[in-house]
Amino acid sequence: MNDMDYQAHSQAFERIKTAREALTDCNFCPRQCGIDRTAGEKGYCGLDDTVRCFLEMLYYGEESELVPSHQIHFTGCNLRCEFCVVAEWNEEPLVAEEMDFDDMAKRIAHRHSKGAKTLNFLGGEPAVNLHGVLELISRVDSEIRVVWNSNMYYNDIVDKLMAGLVDVYLADFKCGNNNCAEFLLGANNYIEVVKRNILKAAKHADVIIRHVVIPGHSECCLKPIFEWLTTEIPEVKLSLRGNYVPPIPVTSAPAEYLEPDDMQSAVDLAKNMGLKLVK
């Protein structure tokens, strides 16, 4: 951890205060709901000011440099990806038990002592649980490597309050154009927001771009993402995932699984474009 990171960690309590104040007029993400979560109001993500976790586990399926990774899955998300495998927790985020920060901090310490290489905040979406993430970071050893496992669809306040506290941004770049993003994720201005946040993240810490290859979205999504990466951040690590799972029932998302040939084509294209693939 460098000096800036130590400084950021020592500011965690101040940042919690800022985040909690921001909950009274919540604009953590581009939905800009402007509601008072501290008064029990719920915006697009369905969350009030409580922080809830539906799963914490040691996981070996993240990128090899991160595993074993201690995942903290928060409920609530600001996207509505039909193919999300935890969509049920995002549709009903308040069903999960409220997080006891002190208890979770103990679990984090225990997992770390047992060999967890990283502490992985994901969801749902960590950005809409910003105050909860900061509460946990303030309670854990500053030497623990923090992974921000996010859809990157958030406003500047999130970037500012997390700067210096994250060791690896595991940035999910889902769609390569706004039409697909609106159709598949229910997000407006997705491309502009995500690109902006990825570039900012790259100034703060290490970044791994993760892209789940979506069947039938090679020309419209995969290629434009690769082209942008090649132009803007050619040295960034790229993790391609072939584990797309079609939703049941399906309405907007592709209904088929990814074919092995399609995955191979994506890998070949990334290699041919000089991108740095990681597993």
Binding site: Y60, V95, V212, N243, Y244, I248, K279
Partner: protein, 64 residues
């Protein structure tokens, strides 16, 4: 038989068996991961030994 397919609810686990015989576990917890490892120790997509393969017989998915 119900007309509409069952939609997962919070707390549900979902395991799919595809026509190809491939088994897909959706958002497995640690217990299900261990079961996947026992069922297909050589082909589990995300085993504790981190052998990530691109074309495998079973799949665990955290696709979000």
């Amino acid at each position: 038989m119900k007309n509409k397919p069952y939609k997962r609810k919070p707390g549900d686990f979902e395991i799919r068996i595809l026509n190809s015989g491939k088994v897909v576990m959706i958002m497995p917890d640690e217990t299900l991961m261990e079961i996947a490892q026992i069922i297909e120790p050589d082909n589990c997509a995300l085993p504790p030994k981190m052998e990530i393969k691109e074309d495998v017989g079973s799949q665990t998915s955290q696709t979000k």
